[in-house]
């Protein structure tokens, strides 16, 4: 039996180069995977290409629309997102821009669905993320998005909270967005030597007021917890202080 080839990449740019290589050489990949996600097996060959020569391939070729769709879909955690991107780009080479309307192609629907999922999750977290006030007017939030949206969501809070300094942690990916003054930094766990944050004295009282408001504003005669959960699925509750009692 012939072994299947899995092509390995390390970042988004490299993924595009790998796809360019495959398209130019008319190779249909078995799979394309990120280096740290790969699990070697007896029946697969891992191929790490030197993609240097393909780096320029997509320059000026990708319209901004298709580029942002691809970039957004790349933020998803879908197991086969790389293959989706490969097939979309293969068809893009053939049909050009109009490919994004060709919803009879499975890969196009998948691309649009992934990108939509990423955006809707980003939108939900804009509302459901909760900051805590720490000492020295510093704000801290933790969240666990399914998709890799930290870079998408951070600019929203940067414009909104211009005079505040804050830190948002993506708990699952151990990544941080840190906003200080006018600057926004994206940090990894190892960049943060020691995180010693203490809640401000006002925090507890404020959380209590919020919970009071949250429970008071509901109309008892209209109780509909299933509807509540449809809009605000349980996976968001962990960091929402008003849902503490419910868990």
């Amino acid at each position: 039996m012939k072994n299947e080839n899995i092509y390995i990449y390390e970042n988004f740019k490299e993924l595009l180069s790998v796809i360019a290589y495959l398209i130019i050489n008319q190779i249909k990949p078995y799979n394309i995977q990120k280096k740290e996600k790969v699990t070697p097996s007896l029946f697969t060959n891992l191929i790490h290409l030197d993609t240097h020569t393909y780096q320029q391939f997509w320059n000026k070729k990708l319209s901004s629309k298709i580029y942002s769709l691809i970039k957004d879909a790349y933020r998803s955690e879908d197991e086969y997102k790389e293959l989706v991107l490969y097939y979309v780009l293969l068809n893009y080479q053939k049909y050009g821009e109009k490919v994004i309307h060709m919803r009879n192609l499975k890969c196009v629907n998948k691309l649009l669905a992934l990108s939509k999922y990423v955006h809707s999750e980003n939108h939900k977290w804009k509302g459901f993320l909760r900051f805590q006030e720490m000492e020295n007017h510093f704000y801290y939030a933790e969240f666990e998005p399914v998709n890799d949206i930290l870079e998408l969501i951070a600019p929203h809070f940067k414009t909104r909270f211009q005079n505040e300094n804050w830190l948002i942690k993506d708990v699952k990916r151990k990544k941080y967005a840190f906003k200080k003054g006018n600057h926004l930094f994206f940090l990894q766990e190892e960049d943060i030597l020691k995180l010693e944050l203490k809640q401000s004295l006002k925090e507890e009282e404020c959380e209590d007021l919020w919970k009071t408001f949250f429970h008071t504003i509901a109309i008892k005669e209209r109780t509909n917890k299933k509807c509540q959960q449809n809009f605000m699925p349980k996976r968001y509750w962990k960091y929402m202080i008003e849902m503490e009692r419910e868990q």
Binding site: Q162, W210, A218, N224, Q228, M232
Partner: protein, 405 residues
């Protein structure tokens, strides 16, 4: 009284206002705190399934009026409270900085006089915008009967300024809220419409009416909404199922709020605003109330079966919208795709378009989903009803219309 006690009283008395939307404004952060988001953002959902976007409170629940349906009417023995401007600002800022809310919704009972009450509200919001440099979303309720110069002042500070029509007809209002008159309310709407701009109520206005406290039929209610949308370019009319809070011989005795009816009205309201329907398409003098079992669009389609089935590869955008189960999103998908390929039934599934209801009303590339002999009103009605019975989670979807678009 502590802030917490006041908050309990004044959020409790504000909860019957349905509007919580924070959309339509593009207010930007000019070096202060906060910004608006054009699509609006829901920050939480309360246990009744309604979106929480704004800190929704009354400035006070003291009131010189005695509207029959209102929990805060003068003749009720309830605990009263008044927030100071500074207290409202602190709550708003503290909640906003923790990302609990998108902004403030401020309404009020009438203290001393409409003008006095409006002045107090303006003082609060002015403080929030200037001392606290707050650029988040603010929705204020105008007090009927307040002077025009106060409307002008308040409107230039907020994103949305609105007045509640309260009851669907003038007669209802006369009976249940004798101190309010509909002229005073529509005067506010006319003023906001005339002056709306980027700096004056950029997110426009909305209104609310209570359903089931007075005797209007659905047709009268929907016609009123249609008229309000046309005359005052309202962004939304909210319908609020009457929750019996008071005992009064003039009020109906209801065990539960008429949620189903409210739901049908929201669906029909959607049809007016986004689907090009008129109130009279949906209801008539002979048929003045909505079908409890079928949604207004399916009901309409079955009564107009001669216009169906529609070939989805050919008909116009507005014709696509007439197909039960097809909304603007699906219609746009169909339009953009069919230029590149002929859409078949299984393509619709691939495109993420549900054909559960639609299949009875469409042709895909000339084909009906089953033997064309079954294209007949009784058969279709029966099947749609079966599906709606299987789907007893109507209650779930009931409130889905509160969600930000």
């Amino acid at each position: 009284m502590t802030t917490k006690e006041k908050l309990t009283i004044l959020a409790d008395s504000a909860k019957y206002d349905a509007s919580c939307s924070s959309s339509g404004s593009t207010r930007v952060n000019q070096g202060g705190l906060g910004s608006a988001s054009i699509n609006g953002i829901c920050h939480s959902f309360s246990s009744d399934g309604r979106c929480i976007s704004l800190l929704k409170i009354l400035m006070t629940n003291c009131c010189i009026f005695d509207c029959k349906y209102c929990i805060n009417r003068k003749s009720n023995q309830v605990q009263r409270a008044v927030f100071t401007p500074e207290e409202i600002c602190c709550l708003t800022i503290n909640f906003y900085k923790r990302n609990y809310i998108e902004g403030l919704f401020l309404s009020s009972g009438i203290l001393k006089s409409p003008d006095y009450t409006m002045e107090k509200m303006i003082e609060t919001i002015f403080l929030l915008r200037t001392k606290y440099h707050f650029n988040g979303y603010i929705h204020a309720k105008a007090i009927p009967g307040a002077s025009e110069y106060l409307l002008k002042k308040l409107g230039s500070l907020v994103d949305r300024l609105s007045a509640n029509i309260e009851l669907p007809s003038d007669n209802g209002l006369k009976l249940l809220a004798p101190e309010k008159n509909s002229r005073k309310i529509t005067n506010i709407m006319a003023y906001v419409k005339k002056n709306q701009s980027k700096t004056f109520t950029p997110a426009g206005q909305s209104t609310q009416m209570i359903i089931g406290a007075s005797k209007e039929k659905d047709l009268e209610i929907l016609k009123r909404s249609e008229n309000l949308y046309q005359t005052f370019s309202l962004k939304r009319v909210f319908y609020s199922a009457y929750v019996p809070v008071n005992q009064d011989s003039l009020l109906p005795t209801l065990k539960t709020p008429p949620l189903k009816r409210e739901h049908r009205l929201y669906q029909a309201d959607w049809l007016l605003r986004f689907y090009n329907y008129k109130a009279e398409d949906l209801l008539s003098e002979q048929n003045p109330n909505f079908n409890v079992l079928l949604d207004p669009k399916a009901d309409w389609a079955i009564r107009h079966l001669n216009e169906f089935p529609k070939e989805i590869n050919q008909v116009s955008y507005y014709d696509l919208l007439k197909i039960p189960g097809i909304g603007p999103t699906s219609a746009k998908k169909i339009i953009s795709s069919r230029r590149y390929f002929k859409i078949e039934f299984n393509d619709l599934k691939k495109m993420g378009i549900s054909v559960k209801k639609a299949k009875y009303f469409i042709l895909c590339n000339g084909k009906y989903f089953m033997n064309k002999a079954f294209f007949e009103a009784n058969f279709i009605t029966k099947n749609l009803l079966l599906e709606s019975i299987e789907k007893i989670d109507v209650q779930n979807r009931q409130l889905s219309l509160f969600y930000e678009e």
